[in-house]
């Protein structure tokens, strides 16, 4: 990991985003290296969502710049971001529960016999690829025709991640992947993230509320509060209490305990 740590895969330099008079982000700089899980932590309203929306091309920053593999980029639409290799897996996963695994895996980018919306689907090839790609990051599905609605939350998450990687994501943004899942499913998702990490050529930005999950999996941390970075470091740099304190927006846990005791 540290070998690749010379140029970051994706970097933001003092990103500022203003919505009218409200400053959502106030000069956020972030460096994410390939083969690393970079946890982005912060309380509600800290600016995490704004940051990932800028990175995935939903809206442009007011000022500041983004570089991918050292080159400055700007995104006019989510499509641009995807083309630049930034794959975002949102909380709702962008899946259609009523259709099959394969149909979801290739949704919008189906393999067809000739290039036209009316081109016949290469179903067998698509089945094979979908199974393979999901197996690579750890889930064997018995039937690619299985409706996504019948899959577990963890399996769906894996499907969405496998899809993003297969379609060229070098930077994977995972938006709260473990929320709304049961304990066992959360572990499945973390295992999946670990496998993606081990592929070595993909940088993962993990947005989470869950400090335990972050500590289990992340190599590097960035803490946001009120639109600013209030702390960052590698897993080694940060001691247990630091993480809790920074997540709560910088307040000391001891202070909180005192407040609660009153």
């Amino acid at each position: 990991m540290s070998a690749a740590a010379t140029t970051p895969l994706i970097e933001t330099r003092s990103l500022v985003k203003k919505f009218g008079s409200f400053t959502a982000l106030n000069g956020v700089s972030l460096r994410v290296y390939s083969g690393e899980v970079h946890a982005l932590l912060g309380d509600n309203g800290a600016g995490k969502s704004t940051l990932i929306k800028i990175l995935s091309g939903v809206f442009p920053p007011t000022s500041g710049e983004i570089t991918v593999e050292g080159k400055v980029v700007s995104f006019a639409s989510p499509r641009n971001a995807t083309d630049a290799g930034i794959g975002t897996v949102y909380q709702d996963l962008a899946l259609n529960p009523l259709t099959s695994v394969t149909r979801n895996f290739f949704l919008g980018r189906e393999l067809t016999r000739f290039k036209s919306p009316f081109g016949l689907l290469k179903m067998n090839e698509m089945h094979e690829i979908a199974m393979q790609e999901m197996k690579k990051i750890g889930i064997t599905i018995s039937d690619p025709e299985q409706a996504v609605g019948t899959m577990s939350g963890g399996q769906r998450q894996t499907l969405a991640i496998a899809r993003a990687i297969y379609f060229g994501a070098k930077v994977l943004i995972l938006d709260e992947p473990t929320s709304a899942l049961g304990q066992k499913q959360q572990m499945e998702v973390l295992k999946t993230i670990r496998r993606v990490q081990q592929l070595g050529n993909i940088a993962i930005i993990l947005i989470t509320h869950n400090e335990i999950h972050a500590r289990l999996i992340a190599d590097r941390f960035t803490f946001l509060s009120l639109g600013e970075v209030i702390g960052e470091g590698t897993a080694k740099d940060l001691e247990g209490d630091d993480i809790k304190r920074l997540m709560a927006g910088g307040a000391k846990i001891g202070d909180l305990a005192k407040e609660l005791a009153v």
Partner: protein, 528 residues
């Protein structure tokens, strides 16, 4: 026990289904059951009173004419159900289908009857301000293809417009197409009145009649193009001349057929006469037996056994007969009109009459000439829709647009284009429906297609289409059309009940299907 917790995979939790279970889990299996039940009912109840047969094809529902007429009802509904069903799968509704049928039919008929013109009104100041009209284009004697083409321009544009309004405004398609329903029906009535009664536009009829029977225009050798009926009504001398001009083998073939027909008719007449003579005696016999008059009964029995009647002599084949049969066999000079309004499979129905002797009515004549052309159009459209929905990229887009609109958008599916295209396709199906009607009966009526939009949606729902979108198959829509069409016919034959019970029955079937569909959907969504 020790290892099971670690070796068991998440994927193991999905049971692998046996072949039978897989078939039973198909969403179409319930509707197919209902369809078979209705098939049985139609066959059984349409067997004439007094006869008994377990063969459903012995009944009137499945004699040649029954099949011809029932398939027409089913396939016409099937055509619009395809448009309605695909649109529902993509998550939208079209309530304007029925009015679109009326509009398209009237439009075609008016163009065929009065021609087509583009007229531009402008303000003129010569002798006071008034509006004048400048005729840009005026064509008369419009061909069937042109009439359909011009009508398509209007209807497809209207379909596009409805789709465009729906996707751009975000209004529910229910409201937008409800507007379309009233707008088009009104427009149809207004324009029909206006064209039928030029000076006073409030008085005219809302129908178009006196359109020639275009599909039956034939090229008669030596006489040019004329309607088949007109040709058959030519003076005897002309018909004889036509017959004499035919090659010998054609004459021989036609003669053989006519002799067969005349013999069958003669046989049938003889049978009818025997039945007429015997029936009163049989009644007398019953009375005699009932009153215990054995002597009388014996005499009557004797009489019945010896009842004879001079068999009816078959007509002889004349030249005019040969000429008429020949005129019937000439293929149309207007294939487009025939494609929509004509008959198909005539050779098969001929074969069923001549060698098979099944397609025969009570008087010995051929019963049905063939199937209505709309059956073929329905089959073609169904195959096309099946391929698009199940086998192509567009199909996956349709499913995802209705299944999860945001997911589809996030993955780059052009959901607006998908929806607009399906609104256009729905209008297309309605126009095809109208073309089939106009070219079949050669009239148009502003009331045509009334309530058809609801029938189409009902057929789709019965066939397993989920109203919230994203789920359903073409096979289901086809089965739904069958159920709707057969129910209409089957209840008519049940003795002792009002034919309108079919609506009661369909009402129950629709709600039951919708419940079943919702159950299947929830099972797939994992919420049940």
């Amino acid at each position: 026990m020790k290892n099971s917790a670690t070796t068991r995979q998440e994927s193991d939790r999905l049971e692998t289904k046996s072949w039978l279970n897989a078939v039973l889990a198909r969403p179409e299996i319930g509707p197919i059951g209902v369809m078979l039940l209705l098939f049985g009912m139609l066959g059984y109840f349409s067997i004439p009173a007094g006869e008994f047969s377990l063969n459903p094809f012995a009944g009137e529902g499945f004699n040649a004419l029954g099949i011809r007429n029932n398939l027409r009802v089913i396939s016409q509904l099937g055509i619009i159900a395809l448009g309605a069903g695909l649109l529902i799968i993509a998550g939208e509704f079209d309530l304007s289908i029925g009015s679109m049928i009326g509009f398209a039919g009237a439009c075609m008929a008016m163009i065929l009857r009065w021609g087509f013109a583009i007229v531009i009104p402008y303000l003129s100041f010569d002798g006071g301000m008034h509006i004048e009209f400048f005729t840009l284009v005026h064509i008369t004697d419009v061909s069937a293809l042109t009439a359909i083409g011009i009508t398509m321009c209007f209807t497809l544009f209207f379909g596009w417009l409805q789709g465009y309004i729906v996707v751009k405004s975000g209004l529910p398609s229910f409201i937008v197409t409800l507007g379309g329903l009233f707008f088009l029906r009104g427009l149809t009535e207004v324009s029909l009145r206006a064209f039928n009664h030029r000076p006073d536009q409030t008085k005219g009829a809302t129908t178009v009649t006196e359109i020639p029977d275009i599909k039956n225009i034939i090229e008669v050798p030596g006489y040019g193009e004329m309607e088949r009926e007109a040709a058959k009504a030519l003076p005897e001398a002309d018909l004889t001349a036509i017959a004499n001009s035919l090659p010998a083998d054609t004459i021989a073939a036609i003669t053989e057929r006519l002799e067969y027909t005349y013999n069958r008719v003669a046989e049938a007449k003889t049978e009818i006469l025997i039945a007429k003579g015997v029936k009163p005696m049989e009644r007398a016999l019953e009375n005699a037996l009932a009153s215990g008059n054995d002597y009388m009964a014996n005499i009557i029995q004797d009489k019945i056994a010896n009842f004879k009647i001079e068999p009816v002599v078959a007509k002889t084949v004349t030249d005019t007969d040969i000429a008429r049969v020949y005129l019937d066999s000439i293929t149309t000079a207007r294939p487009v009109a025939n494609f929509f309004g004509g008959d198909i499979l005539e050779p098969v129905f001929d074969w069923l009459y001549f060698p098979v002797d099944w397609n025969t009515n009570n008087f010995g004549n051929q019963f049905a000439p063939g199937l209505y052309s709309c059956v073929m159009i329905w089959v073609l459209l169904s195959i096309l829709c099946y391929i698009v929905l199940s086998k192509t990229q567009a199909g996956n887009w349709i499913y995802s647009t209705g299944g999860n609109l945001n997911a589809a958008k996030a993955n780059g599916v052009p959901t607006n284009k998908v929806k607009i295209s399906l609104f256009i396709f729905s209008a297309f199906c309605a126009t095809i429906f109208a073309a089939c009607q106009v070219f079949e009966v050669n009239t148009a009526d502003a009331a045509k297609g009334n309530l058809k939009e609801l029938e189409a949606i009902a057929a789709a729902v019965i066939g397993g289409i989920v109203m919230t979108g994203g789920f359903g198959t073409i096979m289901g829509i086809i089965v739904g059309a069958f159920i709707f069409g057969i129910a209409k016919e089957a209840f008519f034959y049940i003795p002792g009940i009002d034919g309108s019970f079919y609506r009661v029955f369909l009402g129950l079937v629709i709600v039951a299907s919708a419940l079943l569909n919702e159950n299947i959907r929830k099972r797939i969504m994992g919420t049940l």
